[in-house]
Symmetry: C2
Subunit: 450 residues, 2 copies
């Protein structure tokens, strides 16, 4: 039922573009949803994409543009004049999208585009939106909302609604304001439809309304909208004046991006890449973490070299086990902390309480693993010295790695550094090295005791 982009479809389309089959392309452009067209354009080369784009009618083309991937959009905009950007693109899209598009332009083009806008209100809306940090509620909000004065009655309110509805595409909420534009509350469309026509708005509006200020951080906006199941969230300035609204669709993208970023960091990918990106982009995103792994590996070689392995060659056999377990436990611990921090669900306990709890988990896991490895190593005939060494080392490594994996992201968070940095290769590498040191130290001690 929904459009699905296949290789066959794309091949046929490319052939049609080569043949300059205008009729077919225009038909596709008319029938498909802007989001689908954008998906297609992202998968064509620039020349093909431009040919397709030029067959789409103006209003739809503007919507396609905002759905494109940033690099594709950039090359499209570069081929348009400032006046074309203003007339064909900006005037056809919502203020929040308009501000996003304009913010991607160079300073001079930015000013030119704004000067070409015919509607002075739109221009001033966009200028205002551009002043906000893009990672704040002010940067996320749009100026398209419906607001009615509390002194109106239902009939007048409906009239006002009709007037405002012309410039607002979708009505998700009706805000009630006072004479100073201060946000007082929310008017439910239902309540209005059900109330007698002369009822004053002030009698039927909902006074409790969840709102944020323009300065609220994007991630907090996402948490609030998710927690309270909001479709739209009003944004006010410091004095309480209604400035804009944030719709959930923008926040959905944000929630998804945040989660993907954490996942990529945990997997050792340092930039936002997709499998469709170029080999060079993919390599660049992956190389930094591999370098960390290399440094770790070389340090690991130094650690092993520092102990005289000739005396106990068989200790080499369990190097992979010790290194792997340290890494695994560290990543597990860090992941739980990072996720808890992202959801703000772990503000209640102190760092100290977290560490105590993690110590409990680590001791339990460590005890089970070390008893198991002792038994198995003995059964496999690795001898008492090696079995005992590996068993004690494993317990120590698990406990140490768990505490380290918990502590590092909490500490980073305290200093406002993204705690997700602590997951993945970094924590694996550090735990690898420290695990090896523990292993050989314990080996030396066991040698002395036995």
């Amino acid at each position: 039922m929904q459009f699905e982009l296949t290789k066959d479809y794309l091949d046929q389309l490319k052939t049609s573009i080569k043949k300059q089959d205008q009729v077919l392309i225009t038909k596709q452009g008319n029938e498909l949803h802007p989001a689908d067209i954008a998906e297609i354009l992202d998968n064509l080369n620039l020349e093909e994409a431009k040919y397709f784009y030029n067959q789409i009618e103006e209003e739809k083309a503007a919507e396609v543009l905002i759905e494109l991937e940033e690099d594709v959009r950039e090359s499209f905009l570069a081929s348009l004049s400032s006046k074309e950007i203003a007339d064909q693109v900006i005037e056809n899209i919502d203020s929040d999208d308009a501000a996003d598009v304009i913010s991607e332009l160079s300073e001079t083009v930015k000013e030119e585009v704004i000067s070409h806008l015919e509607d002075p209100e739109q221009a001033s809306d966009i200028i205002e939106l551009l002043t906000h940090d893009e990672n704040s509620a002010g940067g996320l909000m749009g100026k398209e909302f419906i607001a009615v004065n509390k002194n109106l009655n239902v009939v007048n309110c409906l009239k006002e609604l009709r007037k405002q509805a012309e410039k607002t595409e979708e009505v998700y909420a009706i805000y009630v304001i006072d004479d100073d534009n201060k946000l007082l509350g929310l008017l439910s469309l239902n309540k209005m439809l059900l109330a007698p026509t002369q009822t004053p708005i002030s009698e039927i509006y909902e006074q409790e309304v969840i709102k944020v200020t323009t300065e609220t951080k994007s991630e907090d906006v996402a948490i609030i909208m998710k927690k309270y199941d909001l479709i739209v969230l009003p944004v006010v300035d410091e004095s309480g004046k209604l400035e804009g609204r944030i719709t959930i669709d923008d926040v959905v993208d944000l929630i998804k991006e945040e989660a993907e970023k954490d996942y990529q960091m945990a997997s050792g990918i340092s930039e936002d890449v997709e499998s469709t990106d170029s080999i060079w982009d993919l390599t660049r995103a992956r190389l930094p973490w591999l370098m960390i792994g290399m440094v770790g590996g070389i340090l690991g070689a130094r650690v092993i070299g520092a102990f005289d392995i000739h005396d106990n060659i068989e200790m080499a056999l369990f190097i992979p086990l010790i290194a792997a377990m340290g890494g695994n436990v560290g990543v597990q611990s860090a992941a739980i902390v990072v996720q808890g921090l992202a959801n703000k669900s772990i503000s209640i306990d102190s760092i100290f309480e977290k560490l105590i709890k993690e110590l409990g988990v680590a001791l339990l896991n460590g005890f089970i693993c070390s008893v198991l490895i002792l038994t198995i190593a003995m059964l496999l005939g690795y001898g008492a010295f090696l079995s005992i060494t590996v068993s004690i080392a494993l317990l120590s490594v698990i406990v140490f790695a768990a505490l380290f994996g918990t502590f590092v992201p909490l500490a980073l968070n305290k200093y406002n550094i993204d705690p997700a940095l602590a997951t993945g290769p970094f924590i694996t590498t550090v735990n690898d090295i420290l695990g090896l040191m523990l292993y050989f130290l314990i080996g030396q001690m066991v040698t002395l005791l036995i």
Copy 2:
């Protein structure tokens, strides 16, 4: 501005509950949002939570209940009779939430609760919703929507809207249906407000509407709503009859859960746990992956033992480097594939094309890393044999791990197994072992050649 749960607040509340300070608790219950109350109850013990819950007025209490964590809700429901569940809870919440709550009950209680429902329409709605798979659009949808016949005009439509609005809390969309309840399209509230009162609906409604069937998988629902920026999505049966609607807030939870699940799997956590869960739950979620790591470590010991390490003791030094790099590269490759599959952005290329591309990335990364390690190892004085062996082994391990990390999730996906299973400890462990085998094999070959 928003409520934030702190340890201090919780401590004070616990004291008030102990003192049975009914006035203060009732005040809190009246002032706070259901989602905030649920957050508080999740952090109290069962007895305290029940005391608080009983001070909240019925309608709000029902909303609090659906926001609770599942295990807390279960114990709450267990303390209510079937009649209380029907009267106090189910009658105060939307049909989709009602079906979710009822589906958590035992078979007998389920039937009792439904038989206690006073509104026969509500009962039949819920019975119908319970027939759908919970991971399908039918399991996500609610029955609260506004639908008008295409033959009405604007005036009659407004009247119908008023009638239907009484039982629907929020109006996000007005659906247009024919006499057989078939979904024809969408009526924009704006268009209706702006049209002359005698205009027939059939002239002003939007005929293109994105919809899904009751059988559509939840994850596809999430992809569609995100892609097309939808706030609400209509659900039809096979014959096109309008059956319900899905609101974005339910899908936001889903998107977040999916992303978190993949992240946890990549981090070696096998169940959905939070840092606030018990030590036992946390241990159980982490132990399975540690067991895989242990098996891998023991196999690693066998591999090293199989080669006569006495001849080249210095090879032990670089065991951690080879093992770590194999794991890192494998996890990176798998993560990119898993994320691409989750976003359906990689359906275009075939598995073969993916592998060719990954080979390119791996050769580039591998070449850079192996030249670097050769230089560094020589400079650090590890000698020609060891430096060359490590260098060649590293290139081989990186290429092999990348291909393996790409292939495994693609293969799992082909057989409808969650590809995220391939990330994290599993792929790290397999690559550890195979990396070690490659390393020692190459060591033997280099010995023969030098």
